[in-house]
Symmetry: C2
């Protein structure tokens, strides 16, 4: 085990640390997997929202990418990226920002799943002479938004868009249900179900004589366990770059794949209760309790020593705004955790933890310090 | 009911809205209450972390205030505020930033509850010729950090600091336990207990011939139900400026006192499930589930119509990063919630929701638009 690099010990806590070596390994792993299945990645950039990180995920500026806000779309467009899917259902009030990006030459695809939205897009497009590129959202597992793959509305929406000069670029589903799988076989099954749904939806549109060139599926779990991506154009995944404890519980990664941690300093003890207090509360860790419903509940995160080695059964058990409480297991005492010592906390949900930070401290493969700013807001 | 002001309808959603009229009423209410009890407020600025908001809370630049990070201390010092308590246990690695503020003429008080921290403060102070102003943290309800009020360590720490040229400015407790009260009588009881603890702790220090001029207590619930503040110097409270659903459940405020909401747009329906989808997920609302353990669970927030009128029993029931799901009660259908319509969501926990935003949109008392930036980071 390498000792902690000196600059890390003087960094002001709490801060979010990215291990670049693990990050690059995770990126490479999924790229190779999806390539080997004859498909292409459209990475979801919402986890880190970082221009620096995107450089490792996207082979070139026209590589497909996914975003969750128009703020990301605008920032990635400023950085030169030109093929972006805004994967949240569009509302009419956002179309002027979409139009501005299109006019800059960015292929920004929008998403919808209702006649009402399609009408709003058509109205705005015709009034402003814009031909929007649209994905229709398909619900593959009764999870969130989208139309069931057999719904007659899919064809009606595609026809409405097509007849009015809009482009039906693709169909898209998100296998959110895969997050509640209890075995990797269930994840593979969710992947098969997602692909079947999206093939069926595209078929309906193509039967109308409308192109629908892109079939887009994805979620980090299904991307890692899909077995057959035939006829699927692209796979979306986001949290795979850093992974987290939810993904560990799902069997998608090991603990030593997790490339994100929050570095914190011990600021107090309650010896009677066997509690250690740290300077990372929910402001630094987030309030996410994603592992609460899984086979192993890590509280607000699994604690590692200052070198990043996980401490068995030591979790952040309670958080306030700037305080974390680690209620120690009986096998340990507060004397093992001297005041002033650094610890690292692995996140339940990397997207939620990253969202609490304005930048990330990166330990590069050469153990140097880099700062990756986060794109903020909407 | 006034109709929604036109500029609010064109603001890009999601965004955090502050109702300045309610905000000012809440501020005035607690100022008057604490004055009437012969005491003084030291507002906790961590909820909004806003220079603009602070102007309404602090009568002048030397008024006492509380912060939860050194980033706040530095930003409020830049704005001219000069009497700040950093109310999180100090660690040695932060002392150089504290020193820099002291050298700028800011009275920045630090907090500790162990001999180890006191020794670190003394060491640093002697090495750099700095006399730190210290509060000792007292645990009044077995909740988080601090020493029990009868602990002999209180005197030992005070003596150690005093003998080595540091200033024992005060004792401080936070009645975190009041958040789990089920009646306002229990809150009043928690307030009495907190005051008793802090008086006892100060007594121990004064018996050593050490001044200890400030007796600081507080939490928003106890601040509103304390009956006797005799011998107490100051009361700290933070979330009282906007309140939230946790405070409503505790009986500290009414729904129409809540001055913070997240404005969101309806982006989809799932008619079969009776679900409405909105563009505010946990990125805008936070993952806080503070009402889950209270008498009324509001999910991820109580939904109001576009004018801010609460809709009985309509809550955000599930959140993803940029999606909120409102599973409607049987009494309502998705037709009552047209796609494209704005809604407002009252927060469970105002501190957590505000933390997800980089600025707040303020509807002033004159219904004009103001932007209050938030101080970010640590």
């Amino acid at each position: 085990m390498t000792d902690v690099v000196p600059w890390l010990e003087t960094e002001q806590t709490p801060f979010l640390l990215i291990d670049q070596q693990r990050f690059l390994r995770n990126v490479e792993r999924l790229q190779q997997r999806i390539s080997a299945l004859g498909c292409q990645l459209r990475p979801h950039l919402k986890t880190l929202r970082s221009i620096d990180a995107a450089g490792y995920l996207l082979p070139d500026l026209s590589s497909p990418a996914t975003v969750s806000t128009l703020a990301e779309a605008e920032a990635f467009a400023d950085a030169g990226y030109s093929n972006l899917l805004y994967a949240v259902g569009i509302s009419a009030n956002k179309l002027s920002r979409v139009r501005a990006l299109l006019e800059r030459g960015v292929q920004l695809h929008i998403l919808l799943d209702s006649i009402t939205q399609a009408e709003a897009v058509v109205d705005y497009g015709r009034n402003h002479g814009v031909s929007f590129s649209v994905f229709i959202e398909i619900d593959c597992d009764d999870h969130r938004g989208g139309l069931p793959p057999h719904s007659a509305l899919i064809g009606r929406i595609a026809q409405l868009l097509h007849d009015n000069g809009m482009i039906v670029t693709g169909v898209m589903s998100h296998s959110g249900g895969s997050y509640s799988a209890t075995t990797t076989a269930e994840i593979a099954q969710a992947a098969a179900q997602e692909c079947a749904a999206i093939r069926l939806a595209a078929e309906q549109i193509r039967e109308l004589g409308i192109d629908c060139p892109i079939l887009s599926v994805g979620s980090t779990p299904t991307a890692h366990f899909a077995e057959d991506l035939s006829n699927i154009t692209e796979v979306r995944a986001g949290v795979y770059t850093t992974f987290d404890l939810v993904m560990y519980n799902l069997g998608v990664c090991t603990l030593s794949d997790i490339a994100m941690s929050v570095v914190t300093t011990i600021i107090g003890h309650n010896a009677e209760k066997n509690w250690v207090l740290v300077d990372a509360g929910w402001m630094a860790l987030s309030r996410d309790r994603g592992t609460a419903s899984q086979n192993q509940d890590f509280g607000y995160g699994l604690v590692c020593d200052r070198n990043g080695v996980p401490l068995d059964n030591v979790c952040v058990t309670k958080v306030n705004q700037e305080h974390g409480v680690i209620a120690l297991p009986d096998s340990r005492t507060v004397q093992d955790f001297p005041i002033g010592t650094q610890l690292r906390v692995l996140p339940n949900h990397a997207c939620a933890t990253a969202a609490m930070h304005q930048h990330y401290v990166v330990e590069t493969t050469q153990h140097q310090r880099e700062i990756w700013p986060r794109i903020l807001g909407w």
